[in-house]
Amino acid sequence: MKRFLIRQIVSFSYLLESAPRYQRVKRFFNNLLNNDDYPYKKYFDLFMIVVILSSVTILVIDVHEHVAYWLDFYDLYIVTWIFIVEYLLRLWVHSDVHKVVIAHYEESEFFEKPFSLWKVVKQVSREKWAYISSPVAIIDLIAILPSYREIRVLRVFVLFRAFKMLRYSRSLLQFFDILRSKKVELYTLLTLLSFFAMIASIMIYVFEGNSNSEISNLFDAVYWAVVTITTVGYGDITPVTTEGRAVAMLVILTGIGAISFLTSIIVSAFSEKLPEIKQTRVMNSIAKKRDLNLICGYGKIGQLVAKKLKDNRRNFLVIESDPAKVQKAEMDGCDVLMADATKSETLLRLKLSENVRSVICVTHDDIINVFITINARSLCSDVEIIARCSEHSVAKKLRMAGANHVIMPEEIAGMLGSVYIGQPVAFEALQAIITQKRTARIDEVEVKLGSFLDGAKVGDFDFAANKLVLLALLKRFDAGDKKSHFIIFNPPDDTPLKAGDILVIMGYSVSIADFKGRLEQSVRYKKQ
């Protein structure tokens, strides 16, 4: 009989292990309940918060007035059942029973020992008990209790339903995390306070237990001591004897000290954790953004790049390890992560290959820039890397490490100077169009699939009449690759245009905007 049972259990465990549907369902519930990155979790959390709030509201109203029958029904059965189901689901996804069975079975097969069901039960219950005894699970369990209306005291546990909301709100959980970081200090203070309160209550009881009509038992004395030591002082119980008043004075002074100590502990805990909270917030806001540009280093160039990218409405994140520069970036209103970009962990956390478009290495140290480049390239092969350096030897290394563009500030300055000296007029003109300071500018327009330029020839569109100058045409080397283009300067009229080609045109911003608009529109017409 026993062996039959064991065989059934073991084969059922293997069945579960090999059932993709079961695995999928379990993974779904685990994500829904525990995975913060899972997109549907927040809807589930929201749903639970609404359920809890409605239940708490009904119970509070029920104290004085009778609620409608259907509301009572809803509270008693539906809400309770939702809670019970949730509790059981959490218990279920907490650990895999069948895996334990399989592990034990395989172990016993391997060592040729008899399979012990008792051991399995022990381990399973230990794992599940770890969940049941965790504080959140206890709150969950107690929150189910108020449904037993017969026991009035249990109504108090309605509060636990409110506590249950903590689970669904990350910011509230964070608050407790912060307090937890000061556990030792808070415990010390609490012990000290209860010690003082105890002394004070015994003293007042001894001095005034007989002479004060308000203090009739020890509980009254404790109540007075706590009310006084916390500096609340209702005044419903006041000492009447000189000795009692002396005790009161001492208690008040200790109370003030203790309370200010408590405040300072909490405040310092918060200020210590503040950077961490900010980081979490930045990470959360960044997680949703696509096409992110990472600016590693917030020095002179980093600051300028950040400002310009912001003007261009591009998503970017500053990564900086120097606290002073981090603060500067925060003041400038940038999203900033205080981390070391040479560490793989930092870049992995930002989901380099999915969300990041480019990595800009502009720390003041060439070697660090090389490190960041290697780090980024080793993690992702198609992210665009722009790195700054000041030596030719480093530039070579950067290219080898995988940088797509190497920026040498001094060289650019020299180049600009050289162009300016040779051709001041052309230089100013170029400068004006490159920096977009004047209304004349150079822009790029992609030939969209199905637009009027798709399949046309360069000569078919009269650029001059539209006050545009076509400077160059970028054609794709092969249709699949988006990045490799070859350039045709001043393309002849009979050059064919295809979707994916990029036109580089010069003109006033209005002309360019008009041209782009027309191109967009023509796509729409063709679709109809």
């Binding site: 591009r314 500030p409 001094e410 300055a413 020299g414 180049m415 000296i421 040779g422 160059a472 003109g507």
Partner: protein, 236 residues
């Protein structure tokens, strides 16, 4: 390059530190008459090592030593590593030189403002121009590639400014009369002396009348540019 002037331009480069050396490297591609001046001995030693014969060590805070160099009518490029020194130098040069073009590098918007206030003709902000480049690579990759090909890469395509000589075939004609595409060129704009220093982009659509002395900014292959230049130089 089509201007006889440019090969005869005399440049005095102040500073041969980290910045100056790089600037020299770039300048030496296009210009031959470059004098390097620095107040630090080791910088000049390095310049000599790099094969710059015309490099001198002088006290750049001393006006008379600067005057001895002969700064009039030359192009003066301030590229000292230390910004305060650079600004002081620019001020000294401005006060003692006549008819010279003054350029300076700058490292911040604040310094740029000071240098412009002094009256430096062209201030190049090292970091700003680098930042511009980085942002351009991200926001306008195609434009950046095209500009790179034109300005930095030596592939035969360049932008040149050409002054219209007297009695050329362009004289009296308007922008719309001339089809620059026939010459394989793109006209970017014109700087008209009569209308002041303002630069007129062709994309503005104004049918400008060409006069001698106007400066054309054209883009194209070197051979096309040369052919056009030759045609322009022919007297009517």
């Amino acid at each position: 390059m089509f201007d006889i002037k440019s090969s005869n331009l005399e440049i005095v480069l102040f500073g041969y530190g980290a910045t100056g050396a790089k600037v020299y490297e770039m300048l030496s591609v296009n210009f031959s008459k470059i004098t390097v001046v620095d107040s630090e001995e080791k910088h000049i030693e390095k310049a000599k090592e790099d094969g710059i014969v015309t490099s001198y060590q002088i006290d750049i805070t001393n006006d008379s030593e600067l005057e001895e160099l002969g700064v009039d009518g030359k192009i003066l490029f301030c590229a000292m590593d230390e910004m305060a020194l650079n600004i002081f130098l620019a001020l000294s040069l401005k006060s003692i030189s006549n008819d010279s073009i003054l350029l300076s590098v700058s490292t911040s918007a604040e310094n740029t403002r000071k240098l412009k206030f002094i009256g430096v003709d062209k201030v190049i902000d090292i970091y700003e121009s680098s930042a511009n480049r980085i942002v351009d690579i991200i926001t306008r990759p195609a434009v950046t590639r095209v500009m790179d090909e034109i300005i930095y890469v030596d592939n035969g395509i360049s932008i040149e400014e050409i002054e219209i000589p007297p009695n050329s075939f362009l004289e009296g004609k308007c922008v719309h009369d001339i089809n620059f595409r026939e010459y394989g060129l793109i006209l970017i704009g014109i700087s008209d002396k009569e209308l002041g220093e303002d630069f007129i982009f062709v994309s503005r659509g104004i049918n400008h009348k060409f006069d001698a002395g106007d400066i054309l900014v054209v883009m194209g292959e070197t051979s096309s540019l040369e052919a056009f230049y030759k045609k322009l130089m022919e007297k009517r």
